[in-house]
Symmetry: C2
DNA sequence: CCATGTGAAGTGATTCACAGCC
DNA sequence: GGCTGTGAATCACTTCACATGG
């Protein structure tokens, strides 16, 4: 459904698109209406032709001799990423992290609505967090079907991540955001993204320790 | 100070090292003592020679014909990443996210100690969160020097991120973990890692929208 | 014999340099 | 004149294939 010009888009391009979006939104807030690849590249800390090439995977958004119209480019990138509309999500694992995510207003602001919270702990079932009642994981499938949910968020302990993933797959979910510190196995049609809090911290410590002293 | 064999290590290798570490720790918990690159690769969802090559950047940790000793490999990777010892951190910006991070016990468990919380809002200064008193950002430098802090965490709103970064640089910090949704500019000697909550979600929505439907 | 460690080959992403266009 | 869009060239990473060694 997305208007992709080219067939294969580098993973790295997708990662950068979020960066461009963030920087462009900040520019828009500052009232900048038109930007050329040069200064945009500097603000994003990448090469200018990199930006131009990344964008042409999805279409021709610029005007030669002028640059890119900021609000239009934001729209185009949002559409390319599939965030030009709202998404419903369910969350499995209502521990500390799960509760924190449920209370994080920013998700909804960005169009990601957590419409179901699940847990297998009978002591948690029936409790309410941020206006959402915790439901038994067994009832995941019906809820996913009823509410047109395509994204599942896993916030269980590592040893229960695979089981949560199985439930999500079984319920027909299309993508999984996995906060549990464990790898999971899913059919190829389901996409998984891993969120690791220490990943970035480790990159920092590596760089601090290695480069100079 | 780290025992790097080769001079240039791909950024991608460092990213994978965190994955290996996570998977190996889970294996250790399950009582696995020795692992060869084949099954480890499968668990990490990468190619087996990729793992072997990644590891040899830092040394020769395996035994030919046998494989890798799990606890020893965990130690070696931790040392390579610079997480074989504790790190002190300071945090700037005590909003919702900042408070959540201050209360997140997992950081300390992994050897990252937040030893200072700073904010420029006079209403927040003096308040206490998770046993840490919020201090005026002006006093950052003295604290960083006193407590041997090398990592700064930015959890301010986007428009105040650059100022926070300037304070951290001025205080002599070596690395910055930036949770604010804005790019920052720092001298080359200072390393920055950006944490974006929506980054992974965007990858998901892109993949769900594009690949099949 | 089996699995590591590693040069060589292959693949993919980035940057360059310039033609095309407003 | 200036900036985009894009093939060609470069650079970096990944995978292969096998020699090496417990």
């Amino acid at each position: 459904m997305s208007t992709t010009k080219s067939d294969h888009i580098p993973r790295a391009t997708i990662e950068r698109l979020s960066v461009y979006l963030q920087v462009l939104e900040n520019m828009q807030r500052e009232g900048i209406d038109v930007i050329s690849s040069g200064p945009l590249a500097e603000a994003c800390d990448v090469n200018a032709s990199q930006i131009r090439k990344d964008l042409t995977y999805f279409g021709e958004f610029g005007v030669r001799g002028v640059g890119y119209h900021v609000p239009a480019l934001i729209q185009s990138i949002a559409k390319s990423l599939g965030v030009d509309h709202e998404w419903n999500c369910v969350l499995i694992g209502v521990g500390n992290l799960g509760k924190a995510l449920l209370g994080h207003r920013e998700f909804a602001k960005r169009g990601f609505h957590i419409v179901g919270a699940f847990d297998c702990d009978p002591f948690k079932i029936g409790e309410e967090f941020s206006g959402l009642e915790v439901v038994c994981t067994r009832r995941l499938k019906e809820r996913v079907a009823d509410l047109d949910v395509r994204i599942g968020i896993i916030t269980t302990p590592p040893e229960r991540a695979q089981r949560a993933a199985n439930h999500l797959v079984e319920a027909g979910i299309r993508g999984i955001l996995n906060y549990a510190p464990a790898r999971i196995t899913v059919p190829e049609k389901v996409h998984v993204e891993y969120v690791d809090f220490f990943h970035h911290l480790y990159s920092l410590t590596f760089n601090i320790s290695t480069r100079s002293s």
